[in-house]
């Protein structure tokens, strides 16, 4: 136990690092509880009472805020489920099945990691316009499903699982799909959780695609909706409201993080692929 204890110097440095990371978030939180007028005169007013909930009340009174919240939940959940299903199937296929051009296809998938979204945004926008998918939930969810990271991630995870497990199940008469569903899939739960959390976070925070695909207020996600609710020069005359929006939009993310903290930390530490 003694050997695991951190030295005071390391502890101090870690605390300092944590403080540096936390400071902007705490400042954002404090600003969100101050009136806009007080902050316009002095943003340092955030460090002293009185505090108010008026900015949060203004968000909740917004006629479409709950609709945008629901839209974000639908889009982020849809993207997460879709990515998990497709990536697991594809990952299993690349890791375990033999089929023509498997390696070539996998390389093509990997190349997808190098293509930024901005490079394909125009043709994608045109395609979705032709298909009439803008201002719809499928239009907001489908682009997330084409990400290469999930396929790569799940392929690597499936490869790390001993093949003996498959072979034993096949000897017992299980079909390929049964092996996938009942033997291997349960073993990938840590990876599923990690991928699911990352996908949910990315879909929740996405701004660019929803901004240009959901152009009617009814289909705005929370990020786009809250941005549309801002007045011009919000950073000056509406700073408290702006910060409350930031906090409000991050609450679901915080909840997801708290629930899946273990998986996220494990993923960050690089130990999720055993």
């Amino acid at each position: 136990m003694r050997g695991n204890r951190l030295s005071p110097l390391v502890t101090g440095l870690l605390l300092l690092g944590a403080l540096v990371m936390l400071a902007p978030m705490l400042w954002t939180l404090l600003l969100s509880f101050k009136s806009n007028a007080a902050l316009m005169a002095d943003s340092g007013a955030a460090f002293a009472p009185p505090y108010t909930l008026e900015n949060y009340a203004a968000i909740l009174r917004g006629s479409l805020t709950l609709q945008w919240l629901a839209n974000s939940l639908i889009v982020a959940s849809g993207a997460t489920v879709g990515v998990l299903v497709l990536s697991s199937l594809a990952g299993y296929g690349f890791a375990r099945l033999e089929f023509p051009f498997r390696r070539t296809l996998f390389v093509i998938v990997l190349l997808g990691l190098a293509v930024p979204e901005q490079a394909v945004i125009l043709p994608r926008h045109q395609l979705f316009a032709m298909l009439g998918l803008h201002n719809s939930y499928p239009g907001l969810i489908l682009p997330s499903l084409t990400g290469a990271f999930g396929v790569f991630f799940m392929t690597q995870y499936f490869r790390a699982i001993p093949r003996e497990l498959d072979e034993a199940a096949l000897l017992d008469g299980a079909s390929r799909f049964t092996v996938f569903r009942k033997v291997l899939l349960p073993l990938t739960l840590p990876a599923q959780a990690t991928l699911g959390v990352f996908t949910f976070l990315a879909a929740w925070n996405d701004y660019w695609w929803p901004l240009i695909s959901a152009t009617t207020s009814d289909y705005f996600t929370l990020t786009v909706g809250l941005a549309s609710a801002q007045m011009n020069y919000a950073q000056t005359s509406g700073l408290g409201f702006l910060m409350a929006q930031a906090v409000f939009a991050s609450i679901p993310i915080l909840v997801v993080y708290i629930i899946f903290q273990k998986q996220i930390v494990r993923a960050m530490a690089g130990t999720m692929v055993r």
Partner: protein
């Protein structure tokens, strides 16, 4: 069981079939924020405040007075142009859109928005009634590409208590400079007597501020900034003189340094300097401060157009307009759009309560407008306001490039000559890359 399910499904289908709405629909797309909580059902335009409140109430009122027209409102994130471009690319643009007048040329040049004279005629809105500044903002290549909604410009917001302390008040009004030499003299006198900077300026991340300053004084001197639609001219003695003046203010500590817009705003409200050159849109918040006991501005606030330092009285201005994206529309839809524009034109005086200047000349002279705080002091902007030539495009990108160079020059990070030369080169490169 199957029959019951079918019957249930059929009933559901019937329930989903609401009576068809055969009213002509207009899709109105605007920025200015969302304030449905406060004004979602209000139709009392006179009682509404702020840009968002007044516009929301106006649209509510139009719907109430025109039940035969269906209005769909899209509130977009400021400034809304990425969404508009996406809608146009997808072939599904809205019918009426708020647009900055400086942006109109980007769209009119590519025929993405329509000339609006026919709609204005249908709405019985006389284009001859627009103020010179407002009309210049929407007139491109001899056609009107929007109904102007206001004129916005930069003003000198003034702390009269500090000006008095500095001996720069006469007959209850601030004494403003009439030449570069006088500006420096006033600033030095102000610093000596108050110990505070004469100017409060947003110099960090405030490209538009620097550009407005340079454009204003170049236009006042009659300089041709854009000789044609693919070139800018900034490497000139006139431009150097203007930038050097503001660099000198910095060097002598006669202005605040290293402040962004929120920090500069806070400094002005706290009385840390004499004059804050910023837009018409801050008139409302500063008026509120001037009315708040205990504020550094309490009863001590005045406002004026940028002073004439060179040439004639002029100010670079912009404005908002209602534009019509190009699309196929039925005569009924066009009639509905015309009625909406006519309605907005009738309520332009209410919009001027935001601090922006009216788009209709007659309103500027009305007692109601003149009775609004400080409006008589700034009404001249509707006359002296200058827009860039109608062929000038990509102002958003252009001002970003110029602003970067000016910031470096004024703060002393780069020689003035080099900054102006680089600004000119970079803008011309941008234009050369345009199709």
């Amino acid at each position: 069981m199957i029959a019951r399910a079918l019957a249930f499904g059929f009933a559901g289908l019937l329930a989903g079939c609401a009576p068809a709405d055969d009213r002509p629909e207009i899709v109105v797309q605007r920025f200015f924020g969302e304030c449905g909580a406060a004004y979602g059902t209000s139709t009392d335009v006179a009682a509404a405040e702020t840009e968002c409140g007044i516009l929301t109430t106006l649209i509510n009122r139009f719907e109430a007075e025109n039940p035969d027209i269906a209005v769909k409102v899209n509130v977009v994130a400021w400034p809304g142009y990425p969404q508009l471009a996406a809608q146009i690319a997808a072939g599904d643009p809205p019918d009426l859109v708020t647009m900055h007048q400086s942006v109109i040329a980007d769209y009119s040049g590519a025929s993405l928005i329509e000339p609006v004279e026919p709609l204005l005629a249908q709405a019985t809105v006389d284009p001859g009634a627009f103020t010179p500044a407002a009309r210049a903002g929407v007139e491109k290549q001899g056609r009107l590409y929007g109904m102007p909604w206001d004129t916005i410009g930069r003003l000198w917001h003034i702390n009269t208590a500090l000006m008095d302390q500095a001996g720069l008040m006469r007959d209850g009004r601030p004494v403003l400079p009439n030449s570069p030499e006088e500006l420096l003299a006033h600033a030095r006198q102000f610093r000596a007597r108050t110990g505070k900077p004469y100017l409060i300026q947003a110099q960090v991340g405030a490209a538009d501020f620097h550009v407005a300053l340079l454009y204003t004084y170049l236009l006042a001197r009659g300089s041709v900034i854009f000789p044609d639609d693919r070139h800018i001219r900034l490497d000139t003695p006139e431009a150097r003189e203007i930038v050097l003046l503001f660099r000198q203010l910095n060097a002598e500590g006669l202005t605040t340094l290293n402040r962004d817009f929120p920090a500069a705003t806070a400094a002005f409200i706290q009385g840390e300097g004499g004059i804050f050159p910023v837009g018409t849109w801050m008139l409302g918040p500063y008026e509120a401060e001037a009315a708040r006991p205990g504020s550094a501005l309490y009863g001590q606030y005045a406002v004026a157009p940028f002073p004439r330092l060179w040439g004639e009285e002029a100010a670079f201005v912009d404005g908002h307009a209602w534009v019509v994206p190009t699309a196929q529309r039925s005569p009924e839809e066009r009639a509905a759009m015309a009625r909406f524009l006519g309605f907005l034109a009738r309520y332009n005086s209410d919009w001027s309560r935001t601090g922006q200047l009216p788009a209709f000349a007659a309103l500027v002279e009305t007692p109601a407008f003149r009775a609004l705080p400080h409006r008589a002091d700034i009404a001249a902007l509707t006359r002296t306001g200058r827009q860039l030539p109608g062929y000038v495009e990509r102002q958003s990108a252009v001002q970003g490039l110029i602003g970067e160079e000016l910031e470096a020059a004024i703060t002393g990070a780069k020689p003035v000559e080099a900054a102006l030369r680089d600004a000119e080169r970079r803008v011309n490169q941008l234009y050369a890359q345009m199709l």
